[in-house]
Symmetry: D2
Subunit: 223 residues, 4 copies
Amino acid sequence: MQNTLVERLKTGCAEEWRAYVEHEFTRNLADGTLSEAAFKHYLIQDYLFLKHFSRAWALMVYKAEDVAAMQSAVAVLDGLLNHEMALHRDYCTQWGIEPDELEAAPEARANMAYTRYVLDAGMAGDRLDLLTTLAPCVVGYAEIGLECARKNEGGLEQHPYAHWIKTYSDDEFQDLARSVREQMDTLFSARGGEHRLPSLQRLFSDATRLEQSFWDMGLHQSQ
Amino acid sequence: MQNTLVERLKTGCAEEWRAYVEHEFTRNLADGTLSEAAFKHYLIQDYLFLKHFSRAWALMVYKAEDVAAMQSAVAVLDGLLNHEMALHRDYCTQWGIEPDELEAAPEARANMAYTRYVLDAGMAGDRLDLLTTLAPCVVGYAEIGLECARKNEGGLEQHPYAHWIKTYSDDEFQDLARSVREQMDTLFSARGGEHRLPSLQRLFSDATRLEQSFWDMGLHQSQ
Amino acid sequence: MQNTLVERLKTGCAEEWRAYVEHEFTRNLADGTLSEAAFKHYLIQDYLFLKHFSRAWALMVYKAEDVAAMQSAVAVLDGLLNHEMALHRDYCTQWGIEPDELEAAPEARANMAYTRYVLDAGMAGDRLDLLTTLAPCVVGYAEIGLECARKNEGGLEQHPYAHWIKTYSDDEFQDLARSVREQMDTLFSARGGEHRLPSLQRLFSDATRLEQSFWDMGLHQSQ
Amino acid sequence: MQNTLVERLKTGCAEEWRAYVEHEFTRNLADGTLSEAAFKHYLIQDYLFLKHFSRAWALMVYKAEDVAAMQSAVAVLDGLLNHEMALHRDYCTQWGIEPDELEAAPEARANMAYTRYVLDAGMAGDRLDLLTTLAPCVVGYAEIGLECARKNEGGLEQHPYAHWIKTYSDDEFQDLARSVREQMDTLFSARGGEHRLPSLQRLFSDATRLEQSFWDMGLHQSQ
């Protein structure tokens, strides 16, 4: 895995990457000490995030060059809109957050910053630029999910955030992350090459920094 | 139906609309006299059309303002990419056109003209502009399908183009057309109003004219 | 002026508007007590802001429906890229910030949030949506510039931020703000109508809130 | 010049390129035998073309990664909207075509096909994709202009299309074409590499074919 594009980009912003995947929010989430208020604030914003994240995958369909790439992107898009967001609504209801509240919640600025950065970089650039800004989310959540699971090897029965940890450590999400890493390599071969690395690194580093802010926003329940 | 936005737009370009839905290609298709070569040329181009038509529905997802509208658009998009295009590939195989041939076929200019017009008008404008340029395709094919079926009330058993006629006269496609007409009215209420009518009419008329060229291209097997 | 669209939108988010135009940053800027460090941090970010603001005006050209609207937008775009940004570079040099430093400066998150929000809302919507998200910047700066000038009626000779205050209180910038207000009304007549008000209000309120964060970022020199 | 990206792309579609630059329309234009009706039809459509061509250069500004690239693109854009289109209006007046007639003329389908193809390919891809679809226009007109001038070395005094020939053979336009060729090479180094050649070739070949159709449209005065 060391030589994949994603690994190279992570190495290129190692400090920011650590600040993101080892954020206080994720550490507290792993050991269950994260406050319920912070988690609920995060959950609501994450629902709004998924909406704009879905728009970014719709752009992937729009920007795809062949039918196979379109089908691959629409599978993710359909999964997000018809599966993950529904699960999210259910999960929120368990935490006492009603669907109406979700839809009406004001979007936090850290949320706007990351999602709109992705959408604009993806529109201005090509599919490789778009996927590079999406990657820190998918790949990072897969790492965080695994690390949370590893820290709870004894079992998640009493864990307040068991559902979240299972979602992102499960095979299904790990497979999505693997697929994104592979698509990055494929696109880098087809449309990239070494010369694009500096501008891809800038996109990846910025996106990683914006993901870190997303955890800040959750932790401090900021708008 | 007389007062729907679609009916008003059709009335606003009645001549172009007739030239499109009553085109020689569709009349010959209805009575089975259309040459096999013309039909096959059309089928190949229609497959390429569906690819860019899907990209336009991906734009609908990107441009949607709420989750319900995104889900509605992704249902069409998923239907196109995973159902209609697969059926198209199967149908083409029955006519001796292999999937490889389909993917590799050069795109006819009339095809580029309509699809790129839709995509650009939809990107430059809002969802109502986008849907207005898509509408002549969906609504027109529904009308043509019904008219072909009406002309073959005695049965389609021996008809060389029975499959095509069934597809576009069937309830499923008629429902899609109805849904597009309703979405047009909803969007016209929410984002439109009478002042937008002239610019919407221009989009609808242009798109209708470009659909008419698509039949010309099929009939004359032009590139 | 009370009935212009801009005035209605300001009234619709009166609290956020006040928090933006009467922000501590602008009050300190007016009376000259703003720290030099805060001002310089703001100046650098404002240069990066102008780059993406220019991209938004380029979108206005792309989305324009007629040549006159394209010419009007390109005049602003050309003014930004070839006049205002050059002045900005000169002004920064006076404050000891070299052009190289400007171009290489990392973009603060509050900067990304506002600019990318504008670019995405403008791409997803139409010209009226785009202009509505740009308006808080142009109209707000014109108000702030005038208010700063009013508070310094005795003269700006000794004022550390005299240049800034003159730029935004001068006729040239006031004319730009007037033109934006007029274009908003024209577009609202042509493409809008009362039904669009709720969604336009959301865009305007969000953009105002993001402008407020821009001052926060300057004041606290945050990244 | 043999090894520039543009030369490689031209070689990759040599037949289409010849069909475009040595089109009957351009041969008749060179020797002055082109009918006035055909030329006037072309002139009107070319004005409408310039509008959408300008929108494509506005996209170049939107998609630029640094201020220098934005300034370079806005110089072309400003030249098109405030200089070339004004000259075009004047020139049309000399041929008895009034500005009102120009603005109101319906856009021919061949015009829509090329311009919207450029705009969509440019939006879906990156700046290199966009420039690759614009290049056949700029580089081709520069070649055609020079060839027309070469065939009229004895002088253009009595030539009905002297103005057109001078415009595109003059240094100013030749410099623009040189700049486009250079930008292509720069972008190919920065964002491309050999792996992108097949998809760039497809864009360039399609665009060349669509330029050829533009001459057909002029010659046959088709809509």
